[in-house]
Every structure is written in C-alpha cells, then in structure tokens.
Symmetry: C2
Subunit: 224 residues, 2 copies
Amino acid sequence: MNRKDFLKSGLILGGATLLPTNSVFSQSLIENKTDLLVDKVSMTTNTFDFIGGDIGEWKVIHMNPVCGLPLEKVSYLDILPSMTTKMNKGIWTLTGFTSNVRYAEKDEREKLVAVQSDLGRPSATCAALIPIRKTETWWTMAQDERRKIFEAKSHHIETGLKYMPAIARKLYHCRDIGQPFDFLTWFEYAPQDSDKFEELVKSLRETEEWKYVDREIDIRLIKV
Amino acid sequence: MNRKDFLKSGLILGGATLLPTNSVFSQSLIENKTDLLVDKVSMTTNTFDFIGGDIGEWKVIHMNPVCGLPLEKVSYLDILPSMTTKMNKGIWTLTGFTSNVRYAEKDEREKLVAVQSDLGRPSATCAALIPIRKTETWWTMAQDERRKIFEAKSHHIETGLKYMPAIARKLYHCRDIGQPFDFLTWFEYAPQDSDKFEELVKSLRETEEWKYVDREIDIRLIKV
C-alpha cells in the first residue's frame, strides 16, 4: 500500500491515522498484551518512511548535497506509513514523525491554517524532499533563543506564508529517534510554481537560522 | 546490562550516548548498510525502556492511578537503554526519549543547570515514575499558548526550581512515538526529602496546566 492508497483508505481523521495496532515503536506493547496499556496504541501513527530506491511514486530528477555528507543516489522515492514498510527497504530509508507545532504562535498558526494547502493535490506534480540536520549549538539553546533566530531574525514562518497556498509543505521530525537528520522537509507544487519554490528555498538558505544547518540534501522529484 | 552499568560504561558524553549502531529506530538504516546514512546513527541513543515486572533495580511500593486508565500492578521496575531490551519484556514496557528543552527560556535554563542534581546519587533511594498524558486541546494549542499556561499561569519551572537540588528529575517524551502516555516523568530523592516531594507533586497538580492532564499514574519506588 503506498501513501496515496493509505490516505485514501479513510483511516485518517484530522491528520491522525487510525490503525489496529503496531508501528515499530509500539511493538513492545503488543508483545506485552497489556490491555490497560494499549488504549492509545490502538490508535495513531504519525510516523512515515521515506524510501529511496528503484521503485516509488516519485521519480528523482536531481539530488544535490547542499552541505555535509551526501546520500547515495537513488532513482525513485516512496513515502509509506512506517508500520507497512518492514519488508520494503530500498537503498536507504529515512524515518520521521509529524508532531505538534514547536515555534508558531497563536496568530501565526491561524494564518498558516487559513492559507496552507494539503498534500496530494493532482496539480502538484513537483516535489522536494530536503532532509536537514542542525548543529549541537542550535539544540542546546533555550526555546526563546531558538524562537528568536527562527522567526524574529529569520522570518521562517512569515517567508513560508508568502508562498502559500502554491507550495504545500509538511515537516517530519527525526532527531529524537536516532536518525541521521533532524528534519525531513517535504514540499509539493505545480510545475508553474517552480520559480516560486526556488525563491522560497533561496530565501531560507540566506537566513541566520540556516547558519545552524550542518547537513542538507536537496532532492527534487516529479510524480510518476 | 542495567542502566547503572550502562551509565558507568563510559559511553555517555554530556548526555549523549555513544554506541556502535542500532536502537529500534535505526534498525532500517543498519539493514540498508548505507554508509553515507549512518554517520549519525553510529552515535546516540536517548531512548529508554521503563519495564514493569517481577525483577528490576527499583521495588514498587505504591501505584496510584490519579486519573484515566490504570496500569497493571507490578512489583519491580527496571530502566534500560531501548536497544538492550528486546528480549526483556516484563508485564508492561513504557518507552521514552530525552530531548531538547521545549519551554524553558535562557535565564530559566541557566538557573536549572546551576542547581539541578544528577540521577543516580547514592543517597537518593526513593523514586517516583509518573507517566502523564495531556488532552488533544493541549496539543493543538500554539507554542505561546502552551508556554503561557505552563509557566506564566502554572509556574512549572519556578516550582520545580524550589525543590532542587533535593529532588532530581528527568523528562522522557513519548507522545510522538505512539506510546500510551505523552511523558514519563522520573524523580529521585533521599527519604528525608519525601515531604518536599509530596509538596512539589501537590503544587503541580493544583495548577491550570494539570487541567489538561487526562491520564496520570503515580508510581513510587525504593532502590533495591
């Protein structure tokens, strides 16, 4: 089952995926068969595998190591809910989870919700997967220090808003689960919005926030 | 290997655990054998299993379901790095990871670092494991809304500081990895500081923040 079929299968309610059990993470709970423990496990997975290999829904047209170690070249990419991919390994797999907002404030969040578009629009046949890692200096800063750089100095949210709804995006977190990147950033847009996307990426890379990025790969894709 | 031996093994540098590979989360990377991917995987695990069962370093003296579904009664608890516990299941296992600070601001963080104590003090033979889940209302709030309730209204950090260094604490996150709780909160203290700990827990439970807690189990332990 690919992500599109999964999304279509009606198991998703408001962004939460309702599935009978598992995912790698809750396996120990299942094995334990502790009824009192599993009320929330019979429930949500927010974790996806980005599988680079020889098959997939997205064809890779370009892989550019912006900084830090590159990734092995692949021809196709598939994005699948983690619990469905145990047998499907590809050449590499990057795993990330969606989560609550970490920096957006109330008014910013309302603006984002009002203008952002969903993934999977038929017209959005172009995509970018940009895995990013930030330095230890970034992560040892307090919340207000990171927020100051993220928005007051780098205008991350404000810049993103300028390109919505043309550019749809989704952030997957992975630092906390021992992955080689901290974030998998994913963007979808129509071919006629390609210039806007280049502008957006260029703007963000020129910010103070980006001085804390020490590994970044820019992977561009088109829908098969 | 229990957590104490693990901590003693010298693999931990500044809170980051240096290990050759794995943890459940990076297993797909290992199987892929992608050299370019594994630079950070050969590195850190911040993920621990809290295993309730018939054996362990901590003896359970009391389990009180404060709100929401209880947990099955157990006699002992062990805390182990996740990658070492695949064969050790217990009656239940709760898994959580340490992460960057989510609310503390620069001055608060400096105060915390200055007065907090480490886990594992020989005198700290009393402990509490308090797994907590918060409501969807909490998690759909923006960062500034959550921060306002957490500190401006509930004085969570300020209250915690009053009881340091007597009470050592560590926060493990688990909402993002499909666990039945959002946080595993862990506290260690000497028997003569038991009253202080009761005061701290009582203060926090009376805050506005706690109105958003919909599952909480209070597990008290003594060192074996």
